[in-house]
Symmetry: C2
Subunit: 155 residues, 2 copies
């Protein structure tokens, strides 16, 4: 049967355009609006939390998929860019989040093409099973750079 | 004319089910999956980032609306709960985010009813103009507790 889980956070206004955020899993941090929207530099913003939620979720699902697809993962780094559209009536929406993961895997004895295909399938799986990607209206686009490491002088 | 802005974050895998997140506005932090999903306690999770994005965004838009609606705000604290639905095929989605703001405002010389009505209108405005609330598929429900402070022995 389908099941549900609850996740909670708390915020408190600390004056001006600032607040303090407590996350259910433990960390606490100050936050503000982006400097371009009358906020402050150096702290969490809703924009960064949103783009970060997508970026962290897709990475963790890729790590999970890499285990399932038996990839020998060396590294995963990913820059994510969210595009905020500001309408004439001042309503705003994130229309797109583009993820650019740089992924390195070891080839072992398999052909590079077979490995690269598995990496791409693992990424598709990561996107399909990503809680955050599934929960947002923004179009999620993944543009990977894949590096296959082969052993020099290996079998 | 409508305009767009870009917001970016970067993640890097640090082994196991862990990574390091750099936010565009400055802060950096470790992250993991929730402990219930083979992750670690004490760090950011995608779930908390998502619910925190909604919670911080609605608060900041309420602060902005409170200025526009000329409310004399004393305090704003809000607990937000996101409900994650896990389907039989293991896909997941946040179906609902419930926000429970506790808001205190000073009444000044106005009737309490007029102030409370303005607080509710400011909350509606905050939800309407919240970037994150507009960018998610989850139903956003705001259940406020409003306290109007009147001056004892005042005019």
């Amino acid at each position: 049967m389908a099941k549900t889980e609850l996740y909670e956070t708390s915020v408190a206004w600390t004056g001006g355009h600032r607040g303090h955020l407590k996350l259910g899993n433990g960390p606490e941090m100050d936050f503000s609006a982006p400097p371009a929207s009358y906020g402050e530099a150096g702290v969490l913003t809703p924009e960064d939390a949103f783009v970060g939620a997508v970026n962290t979720c897709v990475m963790l699902m890729f790590i999970w998929a890499a285990e399932r697809f038996r990839l020998d993962l060396v590294s995963y780094e990913c820059r994510a860019e969210g595009t905020k559209l500001i309408e004439l009536d001042r309503t705003e929406i994130f229309t797109t989040v583009v993820l650019r993961p740089h992924i390195a895997v070891r080839a072992g004895d398999e052909p590079r093409e077979a490995i690269e295909k598995r990496v791409r399938r693992a990424l598709e799986s990561a996107q399909k099973f990503s809680l955050v990607a599934n929960s947002i209206k923004s179009k999620v686009i993944i543009e990977p750079e894949i590096r296959i490491e082969t052993r020099l002088g290996g079998k």
